[in-house]
C-alpha cells in the first residue's frame, strides 16, 4: 500500500490552479476593499441653481449699463445690483459650508512659504471665486453710485465677471460624476 497525501487525493492539478487563482483574487479583493476614493466634494444642485440665478441677475445689470450710464441714474439700478450681490454671496456661503471629502486632507498643496507657516489650498475653488464675484459686483455698484459708468468700464467689469463665472460654473458642473 502506497501512502498518498490526502491533498493529492482530493485536489487535482486543475483544482490547485483554481484555488491558487482564487487565493490571489481574495488577496486582491482585500487590498481593494475600501479603495474607492473621493478627491472632490459632492455635486450640489442647489449651488448650481444659485450660480445660474446669480449669473442671470448679473447679466441683467450688465445689460442695463452696457451703453454707459450717467451719474444720478443709479437709484433705478440699485435693486438689480443688490439682488445679484445677495444671490452670489448666499451661494458662496453654501459652497463654503459644503463638507470636503476626508481624503482631501491627504492632498494639500503648500505654496512657497518663506515664513514657514504653510498654506493649505482649499479643496474646492468655488468659495474663493464667488468671493471675487461678490467683490466685482460690489465695486461696480460703488463706481456706478459715485459717478455713473462709461460703456468701456461696464465692458471691463463684465469681462471680469464672466471669467470668474466660467471658472465656478465649469467646476461645479464637473462635480456631477
Amino acid at each position: 500500500m502506497v501512502a498518498v497525501p490526502l491533498s493529492s487525493m482530493i485536489f487535482t492539478p486543475k483544482d490547485r490552479q483554481r484555488t491558487a487563482f482564487f487565493g490571489r483574487i481574495i488577496v486582491l479583493a482585500a487590498l481593494l476593499a475600501g479603495c474607492a476614493i473621493r478627491l472632490a466634494p459632492s455635486y450640489d444642485a442647489v449651488i448650481v441653481a444659485g450660480l445660474t440665478k446669480a449669473n442671470e441677475q448679473a447679466m441683467t445689470v450688465f445689460a442695463a449699463v452696457s451703453e454707459g450710464v450717467a451719474a444720478g441714474t443709479f437709484a433705478e439700478r440699485e435693486p438689480l445690483y443688490n439682488e445679484a450681490i445677495g444671490t452670489a454671496d448666499a451661494t458662496r456661503l453654501l459652497a463654503d459650508a459644503r463638507p470636503n471629502p476626508p481624503t482631501a486632507n491627504l492632498i494639500k498643496v503648500k505654496a512657497s512659504d518663506p515664513q514657514g507657516e504653510g498654506v493649505k489650498e482649499p479643496m474646492a475653488p468655488s468659495p474663493l471665486i464667488l468671493g471675487n464675484v461678490v467683490q466685482t459686483l460690489t465695486r461696480m455698484r460703488e463706481v456706478d453710485r459715485a459717478g455713473g459708468l462709461s460703456a468701456s468700464l461696464a465692458k471691463g467689469f463684465k469681462q471680469r465677471f464672466e471669467i470668474l463665472m466660467d471658472q465656478v460654473l465649469t467646476y461645479e458642473k464637473a462635480l456631477q460624476r
Partner: protein, 116 residues
C-alpha cells in the same frame, strides 16, 4: 464552474474603461483652458486700452484693482484646473476599482459584497 478570465482580457477591459473617461474629461478640460486663456488675454488688453483712453484718470486705484484682479483670476484659473483634474483622477480610479471587482465577481461566479 466559473470561467477564469485571461489577464489580457482584464487589461483590455481596464484600458477601455480608462480611455473613455480620459477622452471625455480631457476634451472638456482643454475647452475650459482655451476659453479661459482667451478671456484673460482679452481682459488684459482691455485694461491696457482703458488706461490709454484715460478711463482710470479720475480713479487710478480702480486700474490697480483690475490689475490685481487679473492676477487673482489667473491663480483661480489654475486652482480650477487642478480641481477638474482631481475629479478626473477620482473617476478613473473608482472606475478601475469597479472594473476589477466585476472581474472578481465573474471569476467567483457570484456577486461579492462591496465594502461599505
Amino acid at each position: 464552474m466559473p470561467q477564469l478570465p485571461e489577464v489580457d482580457s482584464i487589461l483590455d477591459s481596464l484600458k477601455s474603461t480608462a480611455s473613455k473617461i480620459v477622452k471625455t474629461d480631457i476634451t472638456n478640460i482643454r475647452g475650459f483652458s482655451e476659453r479661459q486663456v482667451r478671456m484673460l488675454a482679452q481682459h488684459a488688453r482691455w485694461i491696457a486700452e482703458a488706461e490709454a483712453k484715460g478711463e482710470f484718470a479720475k480713479d487710478p486705484k480702480l486700474r490697480d484693482w483690475f490689475l490685481t484682479g487679473l492676477e487673482d483670476m489667473t491663480k483661480s484659473f489654475v486652482m480650477t484646473l487642478r480641481g477638474l483634474l482631481r475629479v478626473t483622477i477620482e473617476k478613473l480610479w473608482n472606475a478601475l476599482v469597479d472594473a476589477l471587482w466585476k472581474v472578481i465577481d465573474t471569476a467567483a461566479g457570484f456577486k461579492l459584497p462591496r465594502p461599505v
